[in-house]
């Protein structure tokens, strides 16, 4: 018997250790080489191996054994070249000869620390189980005692308010005769009426030019042609100057984050702006990597991005975990919100975005006391990112459902639930039910929801999922051309098709929201906080969220 040492090298991994195993069919493969050429991680390679072939030929066939050399496609067992399961090989294969198969017994994370380097990736939390919001159902159906509305016939006002609403007691109105008159001089905080699903913050640098352009075109079309006031957030790093100075700027929420990238350019462009932006989002945290900063890799900092951000080309752009010039929330609120408000003459709503956290209510209550804070966006643990440590994504962060619910009920106690809108982000549409997730969050108390990963999946066929498929956003080698600055890759993406799909997504979301609200008898206003409409078949979740338990 041979010793085990001769059979394997103990430092060598087996295919069973890898999350995806390549299934290659020799009988179908034409050896065209497309799969190995296109693999973004070089997980497969063409190679040769000897094969023993037994043939029986002739009039009196006699088996004859021969050793021949054959070309094959082989999967690497190098952990640095692990198969990410993206399936690009399958997409290019003309004979359906190759595909990655998920291996649920993998031990990938145990080994993915070679060289002392912690595993970093893009995507979101690798947890395919249904999130809390996914488990919520709509169970207050109008029946007989209360006729349901008709989603196709009745008018629906699927809009939300982004901005600080004055309390009724402080409205600057007075009675003259039998009419109310607004005081002409009174200051009214800016409030935007928008569609309650927004495209969350993704920067020009993180996304490819084609992807970002496609999103922006889709948003403009939705507003100008479809009459759906959908807005999108720029992420950190500014936007192209032409867009900034165009009338389409009003569909953009400009984000300022801890690196302040692009803001010198934005501030200098203000006098030339034709329209105010929709809002300003101050990023304090991100659900995918709470408490962590941002990093745009040097190789993504090409000419356009360097110009927009006001930095040299090809340098790493690190945004620190916190805003370095602030040491307290009071300062953050006082300085950032007021400074940003002042820059646009108090005509633009300014609000912070934080990652989901147990301390969200402390932030909330501080904002509630500041009359200029326009909203609070909470990004839950299921939020996505272009680059983060795996441990941050998988294990850090707070589920968004209870965070939003706690904050809403806190506002209810203060009677301020209509004054400070809450925006829920992170994992919306994770299982494909975008409108249902949005409606559920709204009924828990959110005024709007943000989507990021969903819009990339739906509009550009992003391959990432919660089984760690692909998730190469951080490498700049996105096989779909979504998160790359490599023209060879992003040329795969047609911005017009992305724009078309953006329009499809929001039109469908609009229809599906109506199909949810109509049987519940709501149409005139968004049913924010209509928690009696929700149920869940899990007693603990029901108790925690203060909603119905139904089974």
């Amino acid at each position: 018997m041979e010793s085990a040492g001769q059979l394997i090298q103990s430092d060598e991994l087996t295919y069973q250790d890898f999350p995806y195993i390549i299934e290659w069919r020799e009988d179908r493969c034409t050896r065209c080489g497309k799969c190995t050429a296109v693999c973004p991680v070089k997980a497969i390679e063409p190679t040769v191996r000897t094969q023993r072939v037994v043939r029986s030929e002739g009039s009196t066939p006699v088996p004859t054994a021969k050793r021949i050399t054959v070309s094959v496609v082989s999967q690497s067992r190098d952990i640095e070249r692990y198969c990410v399961g993206c399936g690009t090989c399958s997409m290019v294969c003309p004979t359906e000869a190759i595909r990655p198969v998920y291996n649920s017994h993998h031990r990938f994370l145990i080994y993915k620390n070679k060289g002392g380097n912690a595993y970093t990736r893009g995507g979101r939390r690798n947890d395919p189980s249904p999130s809390t919001v996914e488990q919520l159902k709509f169970t207050r159906i109008s029946m007989l005692t209360d006729p349901a509305l008709d989603a196709g016939r009745h008018e629906f006002h699927i809009r939300t308010l982004l901005g600080r609403n004055l309390p009724p007691e402080q409205l600057p109105v007075r009675v003259e005769g039998r009419k109310l008159v607004k005081d002409a001089e009174a200051f009214i905080p800016p409030v935007r009426e928008i569609f309650p699903i927004r495209i969350g913050s993704m920067s020009v640098g993180a996304l490819s030019p084609h992807m970002w352009e496609g999103l922006a075109m889709g948003v403009a079309y939705l507003n100008e042609v479809e009459g759906l006031p959908v807005v999108m957030c720029t992420g950190e790093g500014g936007i192209p100057p032409r867009l900034l100075k165009s009338r389409f700027a009003r569909y953009m929420i400009l984000q300022i984050a801890s690196g302040y990238f692009g803001w010198d350019e934005i501030v200098h462009a203000i006098p030339e702006m034709k329209e105010d932006p929709c809002a300003i989002e101050i990023k304090y945290g991100q659900g995918a990597k709470p408490g962590d900063g941002g990093l745009l890799m040097a190789y993504k900092v090409l000419k356009l991005i360097a110009e927009i951000r006001g930095v040299p080309q090809f340098v790493d752009l690190a945004s620190p975990p916190t805003h370095q010039t602030k040491y307290s929330i009071e300062e953050a609120v006082a300085k950032m919100i007021q400074a940003m408000s002042m820059a646009w003459g108090f005509r633009v709503p300014v609000y912070p975005k934080i990652s989901g956290t147990r301390t969200a209510q402390a932030v909330l209550n501080n904002l509630a006391r500041n009359p200029y804070a326009a909203a609070l966006c909470i990004d839950g643990e299921d939020g996505g990112t272009g680059a983060a440590y795996n441990v941050s994504m998988d294990k850090m962060g707070h589920p968004v459902a209870s965070n939003i619910r706690d904050c809403y009920l806190d506002l209810v106690k203060q009677g301020k639930q209509n004054e400070l809108p809450l925006i829920a982000a992170g994992g919306m549409g994770k299982s494909g039910h975008l409108a249902a997730n949005a409606a559920a969050m709204i009924m828990l108390g959110a005024s709007a929801v943000d989507i990021g990963k969903y819009i990339m999946q739906a509009t550009a066929n992003c391959l990432g999922d919660e089984y760690n498929r692909c998730n190469l956003c951080n490498t700049g080698r996105c096989p779909r051309g979504i998160t790359t600055q490599d023209p060879k890759l992003y040329r795969r993406l047609d911005p017009d098709m992305v724009a078309q799909r953006v329009v499809d997504v929001f039109r469908v979301a609009d229809t599906e929201l109506k199909k949810i609200f109509a049987p519940m008898g709501r149409s005139t206003e968004l049913p924010i906080g209509m928690s009696d409409g929700l149920s869940v078949s899990n007693r603990e979740i029901a108790d925690r969220l203060k909603i119905n338990y139904a089974c």
Binding site: S142, H154, L171, V173, K179, Q417, R522, T524, I528, G529
Partner: protein, 369 residues
């Protein structure tokens, strides 16, 4: 669906008129309760206009507690009335049905009405808190010139049970609701009409936006915005909040509960104020289906509907007497001699308002302003 029967008149009339009108709409209520609210009282209360009347139901024990409490707070009984109960099968007689007129406590006698109103509401709420756990005391209203009666049972039988067909009790504005019990247990505090500081409403239909509205009202800092055993109680509180707390004219009640669309608002002369209201009072938007009938302290009576599902309503009458009912047959029963061609069936933009003493009826349209 409940049935609503409101009559407003220049002369005193008996609540039996409302009850008989309800009887004609009987297919719409299941006899699970009757609520009666009388404003601008005649009969033995005609000369007691300035004295607050406590209306409610008590057990023997509750009565003692109530009396002690009122004495302790400095209220002195000015006049007592209780219905002459006629035992009726199917209606459980409770120990005491009462309407007591009080003199204000000495320190309050010369205070402004607003302060007196706050005292009266506080007192009502305290009595409710004392008596609700063991159901020894139910207090429906405590306000000058308002009398409320509520009981479980068929409206006509309840009316006879209270002896209203014999009693000279009369008023100039009377609201009656025949209850169709749906999703809430039969409970006296869930019975319409609801009242707070001179404002009352009764409603039929379901309030699909109940929870967000309740939560918004509960956060306004008014201790009177409580109860909500019925999802319709919020309609009364929205009226009170709009007109008393915010001081808006009555028609803005319609603008609050069924706001116009943005493009419709542009046609209004008060568009700037209306745009602000729409945003700020957004949580008070109703989605129906509801028909709301209400009165204000100055004696205006109105009817309005939600903007989509439109629970029906009919208003008709003659100068000096108008009926606001769920159905035409109710109007016919209350005021048979009238020009039916002038009857009004309010639609989604309308608010029908009858002035005090049923002087005139106007249809205020949200778009014509």
């Amino acid at each position: 669906m409940c049935r609503l029967s409101a009559i407003t008149a220049a002369r005193y009339f008996s609540p039996m008129e409302n009850i008989l009108a309800l009887e004609t709409m009987k297919e719409g209520h299941d006899g699970s309760g009757l609520g009666l609210m009388l404003k601008d009282l005649g009969g033995e209360f005609e000369h007691l206009k300035g004295y607050p009347i406590l209306s409610g139901i008590c057990s023997h024990k509750g009565m003692d507690i109530l009396d002690d409490y009122m004495v302790d707070k400095g209220f002195r009984v000015k006049h007592k009335w209780s219905p002459d109960i006629r035992p009726t099968p199917g209606i459980r007689k409770r120990d005491h049905y009462l309407a007591k007129a009080y003199e204000y406590p000495e320190p309050y006698r010369d205070r402004p009405m607003a302060e007196k109103e706050d005292l009266l509401m506080r007192t009502r709420l305290e009595l409710r808190a004392i008596g609700e756990p063991d159901e020894s005391i139910f207090v429906f209203s405590f306000y000058p010139d308002i009398l409320t009666l509520k009981e479980v049972g068929d409206p006509l039988e309840v009316g006879e049970f209270f002896g209203l067909d014999k009693d000279p009790l009369k008023a100039k504005i009377i609201f009656a609701q025949g209850r169709q019990n749906t999703n809430y247990a039969i409970y006296l505090y869930a019975c319409h009409p609801f009242f707070i500081q001179g404002y009352a409403t009764m409603t039929n239909g379901e309030n699909t936006a109940f929870v967000p509205i309740r939560e918004f009202l509960s956060g306004r800092g008014n201790p009177g915005y409580m109860g909500y055993n019925s999802d319709s109680e919020v309609f009364t509180h929205i009226l009170h909040y709009t007109c008393r707390t915010l001081g808006y004219p009555l028609t803005y009640y319609k603008d609050v509960i069924t706001p116009l669309k943005n493009n419709e608002i542009e046609g209004r002369s008060d568009r700037d104020a209306l745009k602000l209201i729409r945003k700020t009072l957004r949580p008070l938007t109703i989605d129906g289906p509801n028909c709301v009938i209400g009165f204000t302290p100055d004696g205006h009576v109105f009817m309005t509907q939600d903007a989509k599902k439109l629970r029906p309503g009919a208003v008709g009458g003659v100068k000096g007497k108008y009926a606001l009912m769920s159905e035409e047959c109710g109007v016919n029963r209350a005021i048979p001699k009238r020009d039916t061609s002038t009857d009004i069936y309010p639609m989604k933009y309308d608010m029908v308002i009858v002035s005090p003493n049923a002087e005139e009826v106007t249809v205020w349209n949200q778009l014509d302003n």
